[in-house]
Symmetry: C3
Subunit: 349 residues, 3 copies
């Protein structure tokens, strides 16, 4: 994807709220990473550890924080990465597909379509579905009965929304995600068979949520499984029935949340973390990758380990663990030495 716009360094500084150092009239045709940047482009250094890569970068200008020394024309800002994101949007403005219904599309009864919606071919909108203004629904999407999608949301190809799934505004759902499948609920019968508990609840996804590819979110048994405003789910995340994920969470790839967990706001779960059922996770808590939680987590706690213990304890355990086999031998030797001492002391002299 090539950008065709060009801005002066001065114009860019104004857009990102920064200060120019060097030639403010320099023309900048694009933004790129340190390694990929070509002459005429601007790059950025988000952390001092990448400063060495700056020297060999072909970029004509650089976005820096207030302290880092500049070896070429620069824009000074508080948060270089934020400025970088802003310039990405400037040089690569998002492209919305043209509005319209691209037949063939299967429309149920009482489907309500907002203004300027885009519906690709091979889409199924079941009875009583509502699409808000400017919604985009790509090919192969299935939307079940009574579900609704709020304005400016984008649903990528082959997503399945079952019945009674409510999607807010400006939500992005990536390809292959499934929302509304039955929760994993069975009761044991007398003969050892598993009898299904009907899953008759719904799902509510609030505004500004982003859902990764092939994510699975189960409907509630009763009531609703809820993903609150601004939360982002990475690829292949699993959310079980009756879970409530709070606002502005970041759940990284392959995280699994068991039934009826409640996560506060600004919770971060790193990749492959698993939570047992019915846990409460406090606001601003974060959990290190692959950890398994079996107990509630306090607000602002940082948890780690497949045993899940406070992060500082876990770091010390990681250091000690490889020394464990040596410890076993040390202790055995100590025991012998102590026994010898005891023998000498109790031996009549």
């Amino acid at each position: 994807m090539n950008s065709t716009n060009s801005y002066t360094l001065n114009e860019l500084a104004r857009i990102v709220g920064g200060r120019v150092e060097g030639d403010a009239t320099l023309a900048i045709s694009g933004v790129a990473s340190l390694h990929a940047a070509q002459p005429g482009e601007i790059t950025f250094v988000a952390h001092p550890k990448y400063l060495r890569s700056l020297r060999t970068s072909h970029a004509s200008a650089v976005i820096l924080d207030q302290a880092t020394p500049a070896d070429r024309p620069a824009i000074r800002v508080e948060h270089p990465y934020v400025a970088f994101a802003t310039l990405l949007t400037l040089y690569y403005p998002p492209v919305r597909p043209a509005p319209g219904i691209r037949e063939p599309v299967s429309l149920g009864a009482r489907v309500r379509l907002g203004e300027d919606v885009t519906v690709f071919p091979w889409v199924t909108l079941s009875d009583d579905v509502t699409l808000g203004d400017r919604v985009v629904v790509y090919s192969g999407v299935f939307v079940g009965m009574g579900s609704s999608i709020g304005e400016d949301s984008v649903i990528y190809p082959n997503v399945t929304l079952y019945d009674r799934v409510t999607i807010g505004r400006r939500v992005v759902i990536h390809a292959g995600a499934v929302l509304g499948s039955d929760g994993f609920g069975y009761v044991p019968g007398p003969e050892g068979r598993h009898h299904k508990i009907p899953q008759v609840g719904g799902i509510c996804v609030e505004d500004d949520v982003e859902i990764g590819a092939n994510v699975c979110i189960d409907r509630a048994t009763l009531g609703e499984t809820i993903i609150r405003r601004g939360t982002k789910l990475d690829n292949l995340v699993h959310i079980a029935h009756n879970v409530e994920v709070g606002e502005d969470n970041l759940l990284l790839a392959q995280v699994g949340i068991s039934g009826s967990c409640r996560l506060g706001h600004h919770v971060t779960l790193a990749g492959q973390v698993g939570l047992r059922d019915h846990l409460e996770v406090g606001d601003h808590a974060s959990v290190v990758a692959q950890s398994g939680l079996a107990k509630d987590v306090e607000p602002h706690a940082v948890m780690a380990g497949s045993v899940a213990m406070p992060h500082p304890v876990w770091r010390r355990v990681q250091v000690a663990l490889p020394r464990l086999p040596q410890l076993v031998r040390t202790i055995a030797a100590l025991e012998q030495r102590v026994a010898l001492l005891e023998e000498r002391l109790t031996r009549p002299t």
Copy 2:
């Protein structure tokens, strides 16, 4: 989803095989959780720890076991959760979509359709596919050559069944699941490249199995990958080639089973568990979440565990780790003995 039926407490007690305590003529319009229940509805207490929530519930009646004290009209049963499941089905009877072929559908040669099947648009049924009576196939489903689906099964949107996949009766497959992709089988060539071993076997899913959203089950190299009667797979489970999963298993979300494993009946694997290849897992065994199994498991065993370091060190740590609790006691005893020695040596003789 709203229910429109109403039953007296007496009628409900008869349906779930329980005993009424209090006003048997009370009209009950629905069933709900402790927190969500409204006046006129019945709720349930499955465990004494939820008893406190009962006091503040707005429910007009409650399902209880024989021992728990009741503060309002109640139905007494052995297993409140089972009774709850029964009432869910009563108030929210499953809705089957009307039978019929909803064009456009792509039908191959020699496709056999049972009575009262429902096929949604954008479905592909390849040559020699068979659908039993009352099967429901949702939009975007692909069924490969020679595959068959037994009566009363439901296949949700965007599921892919490759060639020669046999699905039993009353099976439910949730959206995005893939059955029949090639097993991960390669042989190393002399030049270090991986050569594909043809995967020419099939898949057999027996009656009453439920398969979660975006689950992947690989076809066998030769023979069949088998999921036996009554087993339930949660979302995002991976089953490799030539695996045999026994009857009435529960495999929770994101479990991964490597090739040629054989699981007995009534095995439970909690979330994110992984099994290496060629393992035998005995009947009624269960495995705690995130555990990794590298050895066979005895029947009725309960297995658990999960730590990263160089492989030789790791092997020695594996040996030492189970001795850690004993080490703690050994060290405490050693400390006492050394203190005693010190005391004796410093004591004036």
Copy 3:
């Protein structure tokens, strides 16, 4: 799937480059595993540990290495498993669906189709898509703008390729895989909200790659996410933005690779392994199942992590584990005290 061809043992030996022991004129109608083989078929023993199963096999002939004793007509080769794979292809030659566009298909502007391509119904090929000669695209596949698929590649049902995804030659992508979804990149705003970093890069998948069912590969923020020649990804693998996976890697099921990691060639990651972001993994490194990597890995290193032991033992280990760092200090102190005691006792009084 039944084979209809028959070959003499002599013919088979010539095909696999082996030597016949016993009746070279024996007619062999198929190839099967030790347990499944029927009279008239040939089987194989890949490892001495399976030799016992040979005795009870009904196979009429067997593929063996040079050392293993034969109890029936045999073909001697260096690598029985490779010969087995060759015979599988012989008896079960891959079947390509007949070429042609099976309407209805949605074609954008400037779509270029090579010779003998097969396109199933309900496929969307967006503007500027290119399919090479003999490409097969199954039902429900979506290919975004400017993407291309090299010759002889097969894309199974319900795969989604977003815009600007480049697929090489002889690539196989299994059902439900998603290539090109946005990387998980956000910058925190002043009010604690997460602002999306536009993901404007692409994806490049080189020749001879195989991608499992429901795999997710994110597009790069800038530049390209790369999967190099000959690499194989098992089901449900997650590859984040800007990752580069080298040649001839094997990434097993449910592996997760965080952003900007670079894997060398011939790397093997076993099931459910997770890598944090920006790691370098050297050539020929391998990692044991469920391990979590947080540091770079040297070439040829074998890394490991994760435990399984009986549950009661595991519970006590869980209790002891957080005390391990303290234990290390206790033992060091004990050693000093014992040394002091020993010194005093051996010191002439």
